[in-house]
Symmetry: D3
Subunit: 332 residues, 6 copies
């Protein structure tokens, strides 16, 4: 297989704090010999495991980048024991444009792993993670939020894995992250996920959803910032005491597809339940108004298909046929 | 002055409930003899004043349209005494595209009043309100929210006017609307506002800001829905008892330009204070990280220029130089 | 008033056949000192009146340009007695892009007369016709068709004018054009039309609609080609015998707005009557299917609002709310 | 091979009439968990063969969708004996935008069969037909027209196949469709066609070209509507008598590439022959005028390369180098 | 007249070096309360005249901005006697996008003076110069180059003015600038130019053309950097000795329109003369090849319409009908 | 492997001069049966080798196309001995749009060899060269320049190859081309290059870089025009004497990656060294100014990483992070 064209401007084997770029050549109309320059910072000090921490897998999710740009400001290398590779914005072209998928090739980075070294831009980035960065890591944290069009209650998550020892290690790390909610996920279709690539490489992997709507709040940023520290403390790479939420985390489960409500109408969403509400099957959760005309016709009503907690909502007030309206999870 | 080219498909003099359109001819490449069709509903029953209620002055603000599409579903004409003209989406082309300004001529409807009958699309809409609809009304309610890029604490507002009798009538109507906050505004530059056009016509006028971010929540929708009823009950057009919030409204004031904090940095916003927080002058309200590179350089810090309550925030996590970061109001 | 920035590369006072351009400076990103170059041909021979013949007033109408590019190929200057100015594509930027309105400023040339010398590109073109070309002419022919989105039965038309002598001269010229249909029009809103500008200048003016759909047929091209000759023969500028259709022209009238049927539904048009069909009030003329879903719900039916002949249809099979579906004229 | 991500919202094994969608997840910037929802209706009653009927393989062809949206309105399930799957718009994203190829990935659905389950949107649609829908069918009808840029005389067609029994069955079904013209086609390059996929699966397959120009006429809609019924009656699935044209169908043949005339000039097309005209080799069929300038230079003339009937024309009056100008078929 | 909405973040009356912005509110879809922030620096020290120095009047011209961003780096306030206002990029939105005209309203800043306070973005910028900045100045320097599509030999210029004393002052200042060429211009159509606005205000005004092609060279940057200093030394505001070119400046004249050669062909330009070449009337200066096809037809040849020096060339190798191909000046 | 869909309109086996097209079918929204028509000319006379000469591999490089469109004008077939295939614009869709990469599929033709017959447009073009044109040739010349964003000193080049006999033949041909500079290249990553495809086919191959910036100069055009002749004379196909530059060619070498300087700052480039300058390691070669604000902060300085000659520069004055700023070569 062809070499990946990315070259880092830092030396992963060197001790200390290094700031630089992953340089990915990108020849195009406005720059014959141009490049995508993905920021990267490494902390390396003493012997210890390697953690790889990322945000911006989708370019419109912000708690992760804020926590990681902050983390890169650290100068206290003496508090580290091992190596931490920080990439606040994996899909940097999408992050720069504030878009979910790459503005260049329209690919969703989190559906194309393991990628290809001779593919389009996003595929090349995936390949560099698959064949260069992930193999260097013992612990991998990928911070997601809902993006511009979805909003989640803040949770860290781990997956049900065949290797129960690995599963337990992941679950422990996810709980150590210290979000208000914890979710154990059974992915129905894990093909192409970064999660799957990392887990199949035998790493301790944690993912999150920490809010959404293309914005952040002080409390969701705080969850991300302390979660990053907690994760590294748990991994034994960072010195310090974990900082946990005041109340115990709530455990969630999405056992089947009835958790997902998709709209079959286009129009204006009137939400009838709020995030975190407990609903009963058959309760009205939203009404969708046709915007074409005013009339005496009532809007379409959507009913909860199950009991549970509303953990996700559609953010834009205009919805299209096929969009996810809400997700309802079981509280364990 | 030339006639306005808009023709309504309903008869404003007719009793009963009518649903129809304001038909604005719009010749363009994909329809030589096409039109913009702005939905309108009228309730007319018995003798009484006329109320004109609008949303979608900016196309990405949703509490107003939801309340008004719902209102148009009513069939209880016997509860009305007078006339109510309901236009849920004034700038309908913007509303359809979920944009603040018109996608056709890029104009901000709320800065071009009184408009022109021979101007571009948005100017023609403004002229139809200025010369046809507003003159028909006694009470005018225009429901705003922050749109996709701003978010406000929910308030109704009236302006300081030269005619103190009119000012008192407006203030009473704004308070009757029943939002959690009330703001008395002194507009520094009122040129081009719908508000100014309506007030100069001598009408009782109420405006609002009820949330933002291009989305809504059950509690903000509820403020709008009950506010619409409360406004009409106050005007004596609708029968019923007003439905008010449980706690007394908080009164706000923005006495000078120090209330507005504008960003002089482009980058990733880390919010340090939440909406409704009381801050002290000099307190850090936000940090802005450059996204180009990770480094040990600290982000730019923005400090509160005055004591007060955070009543507005920039929604997108990426900010540009010149964007409004926050607004801090005085609590009266 | 400022001088119009257009300079012709031909000399309107010179005898003979000249081919050139109307040169309109147009500074833009891809050409700092660029220009729009509108093709023009002039035939001048002996003494006689001046005719101005145009097509491409809307850029997606083609019978006129085909007839006039052909006419410009003529080399028989000896058959002329007077002057003929031929501009096959008035709104040349639109014609080049095959669009109805100008791709530069999105203006509909035929709604902005008399134009402005310091306006945007289309306004400058209008001003050049208003202040330079039309004043030079005695006879003016402007050939229209329906464009990409409308289709008409082929007719020549003249307007009802205050000056009955001028009206009769126009009617005679329109009938001399020799189209299968003749329409006498009373424009409800004549503001901004080229027609109005020309007629108010006291010229003999003929307009046409010769087909549409962004295409042509041999028989519609033939109507235009012989119509151009017939018009000039009628004006006494060209030698020869007029070539008329085999059957007598049908006279049409559109006495009021009930002739126009506008769609209040978006969807897929199923036409139920053909162009030239005679319909009775209440007859189904079209059905509009919602495309969002298949269902057992019948499509919306549109009924003829009057008796008459179907003289215009909406061409694209997908229709939007507000589009013109059909026009039904009275046969006189 | 990976599972196709499409899930139908109807149950293909259930009796009765069902309306629903083929739900294809489509994560994108404006909807993280969005979907393409392709309308589908199924009629199932008693024992009998399965017919799969489609339109909108290209998104700008309309006789098929009109006939099939109408067909889906039927409520007379008792007239069916077997199963009919109706998909009026195969390439639904293209159909919604009125484009030939998909607006998402710019792919021509009819050149990429059998598709891929992990490809781009159009490839996934093709795969769902190849591996799920076509295997369920015995009879397959795919209704085409010329689209916005081509126009055909209305014909049904079948291909020359290696399996002569299958070929005869297809020809019989095509003739049973009842269009004014029948064409037996020998595809030179059948790679990627839906036709080829279906025929290689051993199904009875009929295709059509029923008009074009991005519009329809009452008589072409009528051919499609009765053709759909005729096809199902022929298949023994629908009760009733076939409704055939008044005159016998004309048989056509395109024996070699001399039937296709491609333009080597860009400009304005002046058509010299009409659809259905019989032409002789060497006859002028079109003239192409350069639009850049008017001049005494004659336009380029295109001559018929063979005797035959004009069965296809280029619709837009502006043509580019390389566009198909006309097709001339032999009348058998 | 309405107040201009721009507010400076610096105080023009304050001594010392200040860096800031001209803040122009700009409400749009991606920022409801956003702004254009035009960088500005002021040096003020002691008593003396005021100089206003600008670049980026067109956004794709770079010698001026480079010289002025450099100038703003100065910290030697003690060398100043008076006030210098430095705005490296007048049309900042165009400069950011590397376009000649504004990407917002497509206006050419240098054709719309004096502007309007209630116009579109570029008109508001013009108005701020006309009514606020220019009145503060005694000496005004506006540095131009040819932009992406034109290229000039480097010259400073002054205009022929009615006020001969002012004309002499301008000529002296232009010659003091110290470019290799000096041009005395008689503008045929000066309407809308910044030059005209400034000169009519009675100021000493110098303009330049220093290269082009959207790029710079060390020697053209050097002309601009030393020219800025020379200009201020000449004005008595800056201490120091002027730095002049090694050879005496060449004086140029463009007496009439025969100096401008416009293309009447679209295609590929083959330049036959170089910048600075002396040509004779009738000499081949360029050949234009049609790119549509290769053939034995020779390209169109363009001949010099006069004797003189080639002082301007069309940069892009593809040319359009109407583009300026070359300018030929007389050497005085 | 599937047949390539391109069909030439000329016969490569026929003697004489033929002008025609490579016809590549391209079905798209604006032409269902359209095509890309790539101009091609062939000279064939007597027995002799075949030369394939191309330009426009990147669509914004012009010395090659100018030389080859000129070459195609020749009518002196008697001066040829063998066959010359001339394709002035390999990536014709890019050349028409003046873009480096294809406007259709955004592919860089020179990175995707050998291409695919069933791929996207650019891949199909590559495949036609790989499997049809290159196999016909003995000598292959591909003329490049720097394009819109890079600028090179004019050189011809050959590669270091495993087959030393072939290497010597290529070097001799490159030197025979007669450019002012000659470069012997060791490609680090030759995957996907046309060069590699041709060399691996055993042909005598020469490439060039003759300028750049999206424009040409008389002297760079002259290098290309005489180079084409010189190349064919060297190959023994064309009669005549080579025309060489007045001074001996300078030999260049780029031994390692230190030759390439990439920008890590976005902003305005101030070039400090000119093309062809000899620089010393550590010398300032450019300064990059941030454009967001004026300030007393000095711009970023870039230093020469090695001694050598500046042979390449970034053309646009605005630079992005990751763009190539300069190339410094060793003079042998």
């Amino acid at each position: 297989m062809r070499n990946n064209p990315i070259t880092p401007t830092i030396d992963f084997d060197k001790d200390g704090i290094q700031h630089g770029f992953l340089r990915l050549p990108y020849s195009r109309d406005d720059s014959a010999w141009g490049a995508v320059m993905i920021p990267v910072t490494q902390f390396k000090h003493g012997d210890g495991p390697t953690a790889l921490m990322t945000g911006g897998n989708h370019g419109d999710e912000y708690e992760g980048p804020i926590a990681l740009y902050n983390f890169a400001n650290r100068t206290d290398i003496e508090n580290f024991q091992g190596r931490v590779i920080v990439i606040p914005a994996m899909n940097f072209p999408a992050f720069q444009q504030a878009t979910r998928v790459s503005p260049v090739d329209k690919l969703n980075l989190n559906r194309i792993f393991p990628g290809r070294p001779d593919g389009s831009l996003t595929e090349v980035i995936a390949d560099y993670f698959s064949r260069t960065l992930v193999p260097m890591a013992d612990y991998v944290l990928d911070i997601h939020s809902g993006g511009k069009t979805l909003d989640f209650v803040p949770f860290a998550a781990s997956h049900i894995l065949d290797d129960k020892q690995q599963q337990n290690a992941c679950e422990a790390a996810a709980k150590a992250f210290g979000a208000p909610y914890y979710l154990q996920m059974l992915e129905i279709d894990a093909a192409g996920l970064y999660d799957t690539l990392v887990e199949e490489s035998g790493k301790v992997f944690v993912t999150t959803e920490l809010g959404g709507g293309g914005t952040t709040y002080p409390h969701t940023v705080d969850i991300a910032r302390r979660g990053v520290d907690n994760f590294l403390i748990h991994a034994g790479i960072l010195k310090g005491e974990p900082r946990l939420p005041d109340t115990e985390a709530i455990n969630l489960d999405m056992p089947d597809f009835r958790s997902f409500i998709f709209s079959e109408h286009a129009g204006l969403v009137e939400p009838c339940v709020a995030m975190g509400d407990i609903v009963r099957e058959g309760e009205v959760i939203a009404r969708i108004h046709s915007i074409e005309r005013t009339s005496s016709t009532a809007p379409a009503e959507y009913l909860a298909p199950r009991d549970g907690m509303v953990i996700c909502r559609h953010v834009p007030s205009l919805i299209k046929i096929g969009d996810c309206l809400n997700v309802i999870a079981e509280v364990v």
